[in-house]
């Protein structure tokens, strides 16, 4: 192993919240029994929304396209169950957006379900050789057709990332297996139970993007995953790099620092320094799309927290309601006070359990009163702890209080737009200031001021 693979990378500052992964780390993935209805959102990615391609009351099969768009930054959506479509309706996603959804009532007979479905998606043999028989454009097009988006949560259309760019050549492909959010173990279980498609997908993505190096990055609190990936990548050019466990190591900007020692320019993308980052789940989906021709219709969701009766890692069809997923896990306990889509640091709270799971849903965290952040705010005493932990080197208190006062000049002077809202500042604030929320407000105010 080279020093790249033995020396643990890291970045400056950051926090060490308890990783709380014991709820589900050792629970193998279970397949959700086919729900009665799924609702496929026409916008579940960054970019342009899809237009529906099926009318109401049409028979569809698992994997059929139900939404498409001609715009470049977009990804089509597919039926995640076989059944009959209903009339277009609207659903509210956890981030507050109201999106059009295509409801599909599941048929009695499904082509695949249970264990067989999981096997079909991630099990079996995955080739690691002869992958250059696929042309790069072929791979990117297959990825686009399969509706792949970033499964780490940002949901950026993957095919856009994999297109070769003559002006900005890609040198390194980073496969993100860090999963730095507390409670979440969906990526971890994928790496432990099915590392092969991750490696195959990584190689395919490398070939498509023309990258010289591929590195799978995993935090060192997941030794089994590192071991499994190393075994699966033996004989290939894919390397596995352990990183120091620290939040938010899984952020793109922190990854490039930890692995490549380079900083992504503020306001820019990893592409600007010759890097592309893909989540491990996305990599596995790339393999699935190219080798088996399967679109993205299911994903692994971690359901955890003390507010859930039976924490699990569940393989669910996109569009399942959160309620169905929670019910499968025994339901919420009486002490649950907050249900979060995603992890507790950056996830959105659910206002309704009827919201549908989207491609970007990595988990569901149900928290109790004892676990949630205190809301009662006192005055900022300028202790500087927020400055000590900000992974991007910002002064959170200045930006937040400037936003509160409407002083956008001051907020800009302190680089408000560079903030990635990771939550490290609010996590350590002794005065319980809602720093991230104030910064979000500030960004909106700045946007409004600029667009005038």
């Amino acid at each position: 192993m080279t020093t790249l693979e033995t020396k643990k990378g890291t970045f400056a500052r950051g926090i060490h919240p308890p990783d709380s992964k014991h709820f589900t780390a050792e629970r193998p993935i279970e397949v959700l029994p086919t729900p009665q209805e799924v609702r496929i959102a026409l916008l579940q990615h960054l970019g342009a929304p899809c237009e529906p391609t099926v009318k109401a009351r049409t028979e569809v099969s698992l994997g059929d396209v139900v939404g498409e768009s001609s715009k470049f930054v977009c990804a089509p959506v597919h039926a995640s169950v076989s059944g009959t479509t209903g009339r277009l309706t609207v659903a509210t996603l956890p981030n507050g957006r109201h999106v059009s959804v295509v409801p599909i009532k599941a048929a009695e007979e499904q082509p695949l379900s249970g264990r067989a479905l999981l096997e079909d998606m991630v099990g079996g043999e995955w080739p690691t050789e002869g992958l250059d028989r696929y042309e790069p454009q072929e791979i990117a097009e297959a990825v686009r057709r399969a509706g792949l988006v970033g499964l780490g949560g940002a949901a950026f259309p993957t095919h856009v990332k994999l297109r070769r760019n003559d002006e900005k050549p890609i040198h390194t492909l980073l496969i993100n297996g860090c999963e730095c959010e507390p409670y979440l173990t969906s990526d971890y279980r994928l790496m432990v139970e099915a590392p092969a498609p991750v490696i195959t997908g990584a190689l395919l993505a490398q070939h498509a993007a023309g990258a010289e190096e591929v590195v799978v990055c995993v935090e060192d609190n997941k030794p089994k995953a590192i071991e499994a990936l190393r075994r699966a990548s033996q004989g290939t050019t894919v390397r596995v790099k352990p990183l120091e466990t620290k939040y938010p190591q899984g952020g793109e900007k922190q990854l490039t620092i930890a692995v490549l020692g380079k900083e992504v320019p503020t306001g820019g993308l990893p592409l600007d320094i010759g890097a592309v980052v893909l989540n491990v789940g996305t990599a596995a989906a790339v393999a699935r799309a190219v080798i088996r021709g399967k679109p993205l219709t299911h994903r692994i969701v971690t359901v955890a927290g003390t507010g859930i009766k039976e924490p699990k890692n569940v393989f669910v069809p996109v569009g399942t309601s959160y309620r169905d997923v929670i019910d499968y896990c025994g339901g919420l306990t009486d002490e649950a006070v907050r249900v979060v889509a995603g992890g507790p640091m950056m996830g959105f709270t659910l206002g309704t359990l009827e919201a549908p799971v989207t491609k970007g849903t990595s988990g569901l965290t149900a928290l109790t009163e004892a676990e949630v952040r205190k809301a009662e705010e006192t005055t900022c005493i300028r202790c500087g702890r927020c400055v000590d932990v900000c992974p991007l080197g910002l002064v959170a208190t200045k930006i937040a209080l400037a936003s509160r006062a409407g002083n956008m000049d001051l907020a800009e002077r302190y680089h408000i737009t560079a903030c990635m809202e990771c939550g490290c500042c609010a996590y350590v604030c002794p005065a319980s200031l809602p720093l991230v929320q104030l910064i979000r407000l500030g960004k909106v105010m700045l946007q409004n001021a600029r667009s005038k």
């Binding site: 507390p182 507790p344 205190k374 005055t379 560079a418």
Partner: protein, 357 residues
Amino acid sequence: MTQDAAPKETEAAAAPVTPAGPSIHVAPSPHISKTALTTRGMMADVLIALAPAVVMSILIFRWHAVVQIGLCILSCLAAEEIFTWMRGQRSRVSDGSAAVTGVILGLSLPWSAPWYIAVIGSVVAIGLGKAVFGGLGYNIFNPAMVGRAFVMLSFAKALGAGSYVLARSDIAVVTQATPLTVAKKFAADLAVGKAVAGDMQLQLEAAREFWPLFLGQVNGSLGETSALALLIGGLYLCFRRSASWEIPVGVLTSAFVLAGIGNLLGLTPFTALHHLIGGSLLFGAFFIATDPVTSPLTSKGKFIFGSGIGVLVILLRLFSGYPEGVMFAVLLMNAVTPLINRWTIPRPVGGPTPRKA
């Protein structure tokens, strides 16, 4: 009969039904926090860190220490209550900051100061030092130092060098002048070419003894005498991260260097080490300068702030009319803190935000 039944039905329909099961609310991220960390906890840490110094002051100055510190704490708490009531705010004494101001003010006074010094000093500290700015978090100057500066200038005799000494006292240490006063007089005499009297030489030798200075068997304000007690408390505070270590390091390093230079140039009979453990430099470095509200936000800023204080303390000790300079040094650097903050805006990872064309 039917007429009676109808209103009952609508009543039943109108009565709200509390749903069974958990009550879920929404809130913005992040949803977890380091629960052990609170402002009150930090204030409690400061009080714990001050405990060794308080204990030493009671051991050395006995009843006088109890009275001074007690009066200051009570006056600060009362002043805080009254001022927040006057401003129509709810009481904030529970955050502990007024108590901390009280202890620090008390420890910075001489044992002999009359009761009204403690009371007036506390009222001014809380009122002018904190309340007029808007309360905790909004003040520019260290409240305890504002209070002390006020009484120092208004009641110069009660707080001057002479007030520390009482020739016939059953407390051994107060029969001698404070070490810094001795050093100042010695240096002043030397500067004007006055022949140094024999007993002055003896006094200076006594003042320069390491162990009394370190343990606290010398005269001085209530809290400044025992370097050991202050170091124990100060290091505790830094390890608990309730005070930023950059500030004491800045203060002590720059003071050490400048005092050493001053000593080599013959401007002061005390060596750099004596300057560190004599006087209230340690007290100032660990407990006064580290007040988070009135010191810079960033690591670099804290070093600059600390270094400025260290330099000013030694300059004041050497060249001003006062034997000690911590109070004014801190107040001066407090005034410069907003500028330091501006000068030390950190470079964000990835460089500054690109200017929009």
